[in-house]
């Protein structure tokens, strides 16, 4: 018992209309990595928010070993002072400050009452070097860097604060494998120093890589606490879902890819399309009913490739043909009118329109496609919303409530609904399952295959190779901003994909 670092007892928290946490217990021992698992809306994030003072709680108490009275935090800053820091799922840094400033904000090294810039920059450089990010210029503002690097900066910040308890809320969702491995090394180092780490993730594999113990939540209630060796993966999933997990491998269907393509006109063909600085000119041909995957490391140009097809980044060379007809696409609206839809990688920054209602978020793409002067009438709006909430099983009490109140997975479903409503021929899904629970992931994968069967063409990007293997019929491989190859169905297996992504020998 003396080993217990943190004890949370009978925590209860209500949101308007929802009981987010119901009598939840949670114990963290010193020197362990403890996974907090559950589906979206299970209460993981809420529990963390309660612990760090972002939200208050109605009942229960929180005890930490280094204080002799119950702990109540009123803000994350207060929690940080008391030794609990967090790396959040949604990156919360200041993009217009420098990397070093972001790491040291609020605790800048001082000399004669002034900020000691040199020391700050040196310390920042050293910290990042430990994270294998020696090439980062710490004096540049953060917005120059990719989401993955921003995430690493957030981690560097939390690691440097030297807390007794460290919380990682989905830290790996935007990291590639190398970066993730590096993070795990650091987590293990911290663990050996006696830090207690709470790790929230949707990647089951990672849980089994680093964690010692698992606490499972479901619908705001505690399911149980387990040692990692006592809980095989299938059982963990079963506990999270509260039912037996139907095998994902069974959903893949055969057929469409095998069709003869010789005389078929491709639904989309790109010749020499490129965007300076992000993606080198590429050629691609995509056929109706295909699910085509784009694979590559983060920053390999997979997102940039689809963005230039969709007109999100206006291509500066080449030409696109859709169903054999040349189309000029200079803005997303052109792509939409040509029958495309695009679910962007960064749901928060580019997907949801947070303050608008679920209804408006679903209807908006169809509305812009129809044009400003032909507004959807009340009946249509209600009908469409109703239909897709049912079809995609979006959990929402009132479609007029702002979409920001929904959990991540449900927000993603709203964006999917938005595009399905426009009835596209060609749908681009950039990381549709990122940060989403296992159940919803499976649902989305199934949906993708079902849509393809009905004749829709889908371009699918995912960082998870096994998800890609299950879903797509053909793959384009990207590396360093260039389309470098293609894998057909019979060439696709985990090793081949890995080899293609990594490509030849690389230094470093």
């Amino acid at each position: 018992m003396s080993n217990d670092l943190l004890t949370m007892r009978h925590i209860t928290k209500n949101f308007p209309g929802v009981r987010a946490l119901n009598d939840v217990d949670f114990t963290l021992r010193s020197g362990e990595i403890h996974a907090l698992m559950g589906e979206n809306g299970a209460g993981k994030s809420t529990l963390i928010k309660v612990l760090t003072g972002v939200e208050d709680f109605e009942e229960g108490e929180v005890l930490v070993s280094w204080m002799d009275h119950p702990l109540i935090n009123h803000s994350p800053q207060e929690a940080q002072k008391k030794g609990i820091s967090t790396v959040y799922q949604e990156i919360n840094l200041c993009p217009n400050l420098s990397v070093a400033e972001n790491i040291f904000i609020g605790r800048e090294p001082k000399k004669n009452g002034m900020i000691d810039w040199k020391k700050m920059n040196d310390c920042a450089k050293k910290l990042l070097k430990d994270l294998n990010l020696a090439h980062i210029d710490v004096t540049k503002s953060l917005e120059h860097y990719s989401v993955a690097i921003q995430q690493m900066v957030a981690i560097a910040r939390a690691v440097d604060i030297e807390s007794k308890i460290l919380i990682f809320d989905e830290p790996t969702s935007s990291l590639d494998e190398l970066e993730t491995e590096k993070l795990f090394q650091i987590m293990r180092q911290l663990k050996n120093k006696g830090v207690g780490i709470i790790f929230i993730t949707h990647f089951l594999e990672q849980v089994y890589q680093v964690c010692d113990r698992i606490t499972v939540l479901r619908n705001g209630e505690l399911v149980g606490e387990y040692l990692i060796k006592d809980l095989p993966r299938v059982q963990l999933v079963a506990k999270m879902l509260g039912k037996d997990f139907d095998d994902l491998a069974a959903i893949k269907k055969e057929g469409i890819e095998k069709r003869d393509r010789a005389n078929q006109v491709p639904i989309l063909s790109a010749k020499n399309v490129g965007h300076r600085g992000t993606i080198k000119p590429f050629d691609a041909e995509i056929f109706a009913g295909e699910v085509i995957g784009l694979t590559g490391l983060l920053g390999s140009g997979r997102s940039e490739m689809v963005r230039s097809i969709y007109g999100a980044d206006r291509p500066d060379s080449g030409e696109l043909s859709i169903k054999g007809k040349k189309k000029k696409i200079s803005a997303p609206i052109d792509a939409m009118k040509a029958g495309m839809g695009f679910l962007p990688e960064d749901r928060k920054a580019e997907g949801i329109i947070s303050d608008l209602s679920v209804r408006e978020n679903i209807n908006i793409a169809l509305q812009t496609k129809r044009g400003m002067f032909r507004p959807l009438n009340q009946r249509e709006r209600a009908e469409f919303t109703e239909k897709y909430i049912k079809l995609l099983q979006i959990k929402v009490a009132n479609p007029d409530s702002p979409v920001k109140q929904l959990s991540g997975g449900n927000q993603q479903k709203v964006i999917l609904a938005r595009w399905l409503l426009t009835n596209p021929d060609f749908l681009i899904l950039d990381e549709p399952t990122r940060g989403i629970d296992v159940g919803t992931k499976t649902e989305i994968q199934k949906l993708v295959l079902k849509l393809a069967e009905e004749g829709m063409t889908i371009m699918f990007i995912s960082s998870e190779v096994d998800e890609m293997l299950r879903t797509v019929g053909r793959m384009y491989v990207l590396r360093d901003g260039e389309l470098v190859g293609e894998l057909t169905e019979d060439q696709m297996n985990e090793n081949a994909v890995m080899a293609a992504i990594a490509g030849g020998e690389k230094d470093e």
Binding site: G351, S354, T368
Partner: protein, 346 residues
């Protein structure tokens, strides 16, 4: 019953309306004749009439400001100067003659409104195309606008002597209500209709909340922002024409002076976020009327013009504080504490 009550109190318009009612109730106590309306020469007189009359140009400006704030998350601080530009164009083109205008009346008004819109085009260009921060971009016309107006008037105050010119700012023959009220109502109705019968309202909000996401669903964000600035310019022009008609002249230095601040305040009093996004037109209209009610009632209480800003500031601080989220949080905590106490007692 309690559900209905909750629905009412949670509405964005609840607090603005309460603020307005408070100001009015306070008036009745201090000035019992406040709601008295008399008829003189076939037109209505009274404090209430005076408020809605004087509030007209502010209401119009506030509407333009509302759409600008919603779409661009910034304020157009040039509205007062643009009003002066419009007034100058109108007075210059109509001319000072007592017998006849230099150009037909409607042409003069049209030119003035065009001038206002042109200023809006300039602001919109700077904000939407050049991506300059709205306050900095509109600062240019805020200062240059009055210079332009002076230039048009050649440094003089142009008086339009023809009697009919005063009609827009006073009473049409045989109509008991002042003309500006009708103009304001017309602007409200037209704006409401545009937002109601096109998808523009949703576009403006989407652009204001998340312009990147807006672009990806096919909205041309910069075009929407551009449009709102032009509309704001038009509203400034209309407002300028009314002000100028009230004094039958163009005084480039004083027309619409400090109106931009009241217009921004009206938007905020209406419960609209100055951070852009969701907006309520009705809120801004109520906000504008509240500001005018405050001014008029302070005059009614014989507060002198030089002391007016102090009292106004006090009331505004109270109204804005009540609407802040911090206050709401504090208030709901207080309510909860009492509920717990009551529970413990019973």
């Amino acid at each position: 019953m309690s559900k209905l009550f909750q629905k009412i109190t949670r509405s964005q318009l609840f607090l603005p309306i309460v603020a307005l009612i408070l100001v009015l109730v306070f008036n009745v106590i201090k000035t019992p004749t406040f709601f008295k309306i008399t008829i003189m020469n076939g037109t209505l007189y009274g404090f209430i009439i005076d408020i809605i009359n004087r509030a007209s140009e502010l209401v119009i400006l506030a509407i333009g400001m509302t759409v600008v704030v919603a779409s661009s998350a910034g304020t157009d601080i040039s509205v007062g100067s643009v009003a002066a530009v419009s007034a100058a164009i109108i007075c210059y083109s109509l001319g000072p003659s007592q017998e006849a205008y230099k150009v037909p009346y409607l042409v003069g008004i049209f030119l003035g409104l065009m001038g206002g819109m042109l200023c809006g085009v300039w602001n919109g260009f700077l904000v939407a195309k050049m991506k300059i921060q709205p306050m900095v971009a509109t600062l240019i016309l805020f200062t240059a606008g009055r210079g332009i107006a002076q230039l048009i008037c050649a440094g003089q105050i142009i008086h339009v002597e023809k009697v009919e010119y005063r009609l827009l700012g006073s009473f049409l023959p045989g109509v008991p209500l002042p003309t500006p009220v009708f103009v304001a109502i017309l602007v409200i109705v037209i704006t409401w209709a545009i937002l109601r019968y096109t998808a523009l309202g949703m576009y403006i909000q989407a652009v204001g909340i998340n312009s990147k996401a807006g672009r990806l669903v096919g909205i041309n964000s910069s075009a929407i922002i551009f449009l709102t600035y032009i509309y704001c310019g038009l509203c400034s022009g209309i407002s300028g024409s009314i002000i100028s008609s009230r004094i039958a002249a163009c005084d480039a230095n004083n027309i619409g002076l400090n109106y931009e601040l009241d217009a921004i305040l009206a938007v905020a009093l209406g419960g609209n976020s100055l951070g852009g996004g969701k907006f309520s037109l009705a809120g801004s209209v109520i906000g504008a009327i509240t500001i005018q009610a405050l001014t008029t009632s302070l005059y009614a209480m014989q507060v002198t013009a030089d002391q007016l800003p102090i009292y106004k500031a006090i009331v505004v601080v109270i109204i804005v504080a009540i609407q802040s989220t911090e206050f709401k949080k504090w208030f709901s905590n207080l309510k909860r504490k009492y509920a717990i106490k009551a529970e413990a007692a019973s």
